[in-house]
């Protein structure tokens, strides 16, 4: 009996969840027979089962609903909004009752008669509510689901744990094997076992995946109810429900997503009258879309409402004493928009029951970031707002940094760390005023804390320099955290820590690395609040102004590596491109046709200077990287690191050289990184003539280090990032990568009339309509830039 009841409860709950959307869709299109049938079937099933299980209240409710639905099916009455509301009300009550039964609590003794009466209200009576506000829901593809079975979650967790144990045991076995003498046969068998275990782990982690549909299931209902309450009309579109993500992740995203949707309806989309007045369609469009991108799930929520009024935000921030008017005047639009994430700031004038419950965007951001996600806003005042949530595919694996402090190891999510410096770095200055530590990095002052102090640990004396991490906390104010050292970068399997430990507020979870020593994951925002750091906004705009002044003051210098070629010449190569320098066994070098390569870490890497024969046993090689591609450059000796001018003193491009620079009275040839990487793809250099080039992705390494120098050398005037003053000449060319930046760029282009050149990282076009240019296709790139400038 108990089992039957359990089955009934979980089945009812599941169907209810799935049906909530269906009912709303059915209301929008009452003639939709399939949906009506689905709802009818639900009540029918409930009625049947509960008669058997002796649940009289269920029976009465479902019977009443079934009667009405049968009438509608027979065409005796229409599905007017009042009826739909009443049916929804019944479904809610059944949900409540189910919950009560599941928990073994007493059934809430409310008046079911009222609900049933509402259902049977005379049809001809005008509906008491405001004008019907049906919500149109884009119909999703027919769901002929694959065969499935229901499993208790605990069983899957048990399986998961078993597999984790297996992985740990395998690691230990491999350690033990390595200690012994090598036995190829044994190694082979172990290798096979290893692969099996890895496969198994992959498959098991898939059992935790769930369709995003579940996340979406509650939205239509919420949109309908809110729209009614507020008298707004909303066209809802849901897309990408078949994307899968980790079950736990779904749970974690529900709240932020709900909040954003509520916000969009409450504050974003205007009332029909207002919309008519500004020439928009009466029904506001709300679009929720999920898609997978690499190992992330991207959820975008866009509306065509009023957008965020940044001027109001700034006023509020000044009013709240968070911001000085001077600082506000220097802020960029993006900085202003960022204010929405400040605690306690909202553009809503009054607290409403819908979204103004003291839970602001700061909490949404904190929640999203806690699971290793990122939230981004794309605001078009008066035209709408698009919020993008990027969350990792699974909650359990995040990239993290392992840091050492007070003799212990801790992990911190990599996403929280903005930069890492050593405390002997010249750019960093630490001062102590009245007990407060302040770290000044490149002219920006950060609150500084020592991790050991916050956690109440001793700080043992250490020989080397300490590491200072700039960490961005949940409230968006970065601060500096001092630790003994940053040891490692790892993919960490994170599990929740016990509530006792979570209660400290400074830990976000724990992880068990391969060495078997549990490690705690630090919560960046929690540490900031534990240390009671001030949350006053830093004057970022001021910093930028200073930076620009610095840049204009003299010739721009960059760090470069001075080295000696195998052939004896001394040359320079920009340091930022060099991943590392290592000594490589010459036996690893090889040649195929006229392409030289070297085998490193089990991969073949192109040797860009084409050398494969050496007269020594080991050769020093520079490992180069442009973000996606790798190359190897064998040299005779690495000499030192020097500062060289960004543009060589004498520009003379030929082959892989871009010119000659004079360093300390010695003239050295400068390697052209563009040519180096372009040669990987078989493209040669040509020269171009041009005007101003705007590089939209100023933060991107490739753009800074490879594209910008190339364009400069080709005689273009290069601007990194979009100009602060927003003045864009129609003759300018805007270069950007495909993806996020391109959307902004497209809008900029429309506004100013300048041309946009889109670059892509892959040699192949995404489709016949893909107008972007492969970023190492120099001919096409130069042609595109010069095309409109003639």
């Amino acid at each position: 009996m108990d089992e039957l009841l359990q089955e009934f409860i979980s089945e009812t709950q599941e169907t209810l969840e799935a049906l909530a959307g269906e009912v709303v869709a059915w209301e929008a299109d009452p003639s939709d027979r399939d949906r009506l049938d689905a709802i009818f079937r639900f009540f029918h099933t409930v009625k049947g089962s509960c008669g058997f299980l002796n649940l009289p209240r269920f029976e009465r409710l479902s019977h009443a609903a079934e009667d009405v639905l049968a009438d509608i099916r027979a065409g005796k009455r229409g599905a007017d909004p009042a009826t739909v509301s009443a049916v929804l009300g019944l479904m809610d009550r059944i949900g409540e009752l189910t919950e009560a039964v599941a928990m073994g609590a007493a059934l809430p003794n409310e008046n079911d008669d009222y609900l049933i009466a509402a259902l049977n209200a005379p049809v001809d009576q005008p509906a008491p509510q405001v004008q019907a506000a049906p919500v149109a829901v884009a119909r999703q593809a027919g769901q002929a689901g694959p065969r499935t079975i229901r499993l208790p979650l605990s069983l899957i967790d048990q399986l998961m744990n078993g597999v984790s144990d297996m992985v740990l045991a395998r690691n230990e076995l491999s350690r033990k094997l390595r200690e012994r003498s090598a036995d190829p046969e044994l190694d082979n068998v172990f290798e096979r076992l290893s692969t099996c275990v890895a496969d198994m782990r992959d498959v098991i982690s898939k059992t935790r995946m769930q369709r995003v549909e579940r996340l979406f299931a509650a939205i239509p209902r919420m949109v309908r109810d809110l729209g009614r309450d507020l008298g707004k009309r909303i066209d809802l579109t849901l897309e990408g429900g078949d994307v899968e993500m980790d079950r736990e992740m779904v749970e974690m995203v529900v709240d932020p997503l709900t909040h954003i949707v509520r916000n969009a309806i409450d504050h974003g989309i205007e009332s029909p009258e207002q919309r008519r007045a500004v020439g928009k369609p009466e029904a506001g469009a709300l679009r929720v879309e999920a898609r997978q991108s690499g190992n992330q799930i991207v959820i975008t929520i866009s509306d065509d409402g009023a957008g965020i009024d940044t001027a109001r935000l700034v006023d509020k921030a000044i009013g709240a004493g968070r911001l000085t008017p001077e600082a506000a005047a220097r802020m960029t639009e993006a900085d202003r928009l960022d204010l929405i994430f400040q605690a306690g700031l909202s553009t809503a004038d009054q607290v409403t029951s819908i979204s103004g419950r003291g839970v602001g965007m700061d909490v949404v951001r904190a929640n999203v970031e806690r699971i290793g996600g990122v939230i981004a806003l794309d605001n078009h005042p008066g035209q709408g707002l698009c919020i993008t949530l990027r969350v990792p595919l699974t909650l359990t694996i995040i990239p993290g940094l392992v840091v050492r402090a007070g003799g212990l190891h801790f992990a911190i999510p990599r996403a929280a760390v903005v930069e890492i410096l050593h405390d002997n770095n010249a750019m960093l200055q630490i001062s102590c005023i009245g007990g407060a530590q302040i770290a000044t990095i490149r002219g920006v002052r950060h609150s500084m804390i020592e991790l050991e102090d916050v956690l109440g640990m001793d700080r043992p004396a250490q020989a080397g320099p300490r590491a200072i991490m700039v960490v961005r906390s949940g409230s968006g104010v970065p601060y500096a955290m001092g630790v003994a050292a940053v040891d490692n970068h790892e993919e960490l399997v994170i599990r929740p820590a016990s509530p006792l430990i979570m209660a400290t507020g400074v830990y976000a979870g724990m992880t068990l690395p391969d060495n078997g020593q549990p490690m705690l994951l630090l919560d960046a925002a929690g540490i900031a609040s534990a240390a009671q750091l001030p949350t006053i906004l830093d004057d970022q705009a001021a910093r930028r102004t200073e930076e620009q002044a610095d840049a204009q003051a003299g010739v721009e210098m960059v760090a470069a590596l001075r080295f000696e070629e195998i052939t004896g010449e001394k040359r320079l190569l920009k340091l930022a491109l060099i991943d590392r320098v290592e000594d490589i066994d010459v036996g690893l070098f090889g040649r195929s046709g006229d392409q030289a390569y070297v085998r490193l870490d089990g991969r073949l890497i192109t040797v860009v200077n084409g050398l494969s024969q050496f007269d020594r046993a080991k050769v020093s090689a520079l490992r180069l990287r442009d973000g996606t591609q790798e190359a190897c450059y064998p040299v005779a000796a690495v000499l030192d690191i020097v500062q060289m001018p960004l543009v060589p003193d004498m520009v003379a491009m030929h082959g892989i050289l871009s010119g000659v620079a004079v360093i300390e009275g010695e003239h050295l040839e400068v390697i052209n990184p563009f040519a180096l990487f372009a040669s990987l793809s078989g493209y040669d250099m040509v020269e171009g003539q041009g005007g101003r080039c705007l590089l939209a992705d100023a933060e991107d390494g490739w753009t800074r280090e490879i594209l910008a120098p190339l364009l400069r050398q080709a005689g273009h005037d290069v601007v990194l990032g979009l100009p602060e003053d927003g003045v864009i000449d129609p003759r300018d060319v805007l270069l950007c990568h495909d993806g996020e930046g391109s959307k902004v760029a497209g809008i900029m282009a429309e506004m100013t009339g300048c041309r946009v050149v889109q670059l892509r990282a892959s040699p192949r076009a995404a489709g016949p309509r893909d107008a972007s240019i492969y970023r190492y296709d120099q001919d096409a790139l130069m042609a595109a830039i010069t095309a409109g400038q003639g």
Partner: protein, 145 residues
């Protein structure tokens, strides 16, 4: 009432625990401390692929960290979905007690009051029946107060 009880000593006091609550008793090897916590959380310890939160029960009761933290015995329990290890001085026996729980007599020390529930008689000695969950729930409250 013919339940199984685990008999142990904790902070010099004889205690009994219902075996339903007990998952295992293990010898602790290595404990990684959790800085920033009170003395009652000894740290984290790995038991195969599980991570246990080790509670220094003696510290919880006496307010002082016990001197020999490593290589002690711990009762492993799953409380509210998390695995905990509760450190004990020694474990003596597991057996059935036909009489079951007997009501408490006398005034419990204030330190023990949140945890003790009843008395279980065995070998002619009274053993204080404690619930493991109370060390977790009560511990948090004691810390907050």
């Amino acid at each position: 009432m013919n339940r199984l009880y685990l008999f142990a000593t904790l902070a010099g006091t004889r205690i009994a625990v219902e075996t339903d609550e007990v998952e295992a008793v293990v010898k602790l090897t290595e404990i990684s401390p959790v800085p920033g916590m009170g003395a009652h959380v000894a740290g984290l310890s790995a038991l195969r692929s599980r991570v246990l939160t080790i509670i220094d029960t003696a510290a919880l009761i006496q307010g002082m960290a016990s001197p020999t933290r490593d290589a002690g015995l711990a009762i492993i329990a799953n409380i509210a979905g998390h695995s905990y290890g509760l450190m004990v001085d020694s474990v003596s026996d597991i057996c059935r007690v036909p009489e079951g729980e007997l009501p408490l007599r006398g005034q419990l020390d204030r330190a023990w009051a949140p945890y003790g529930r009843a008395i279980v008689e065995q070998d002619g000695h009274p053993w204080l029946l404690v619930s493991l969950a109370s060390f977790i729930d009560g511990g948090g409250q004691a810390q907050a107060a």
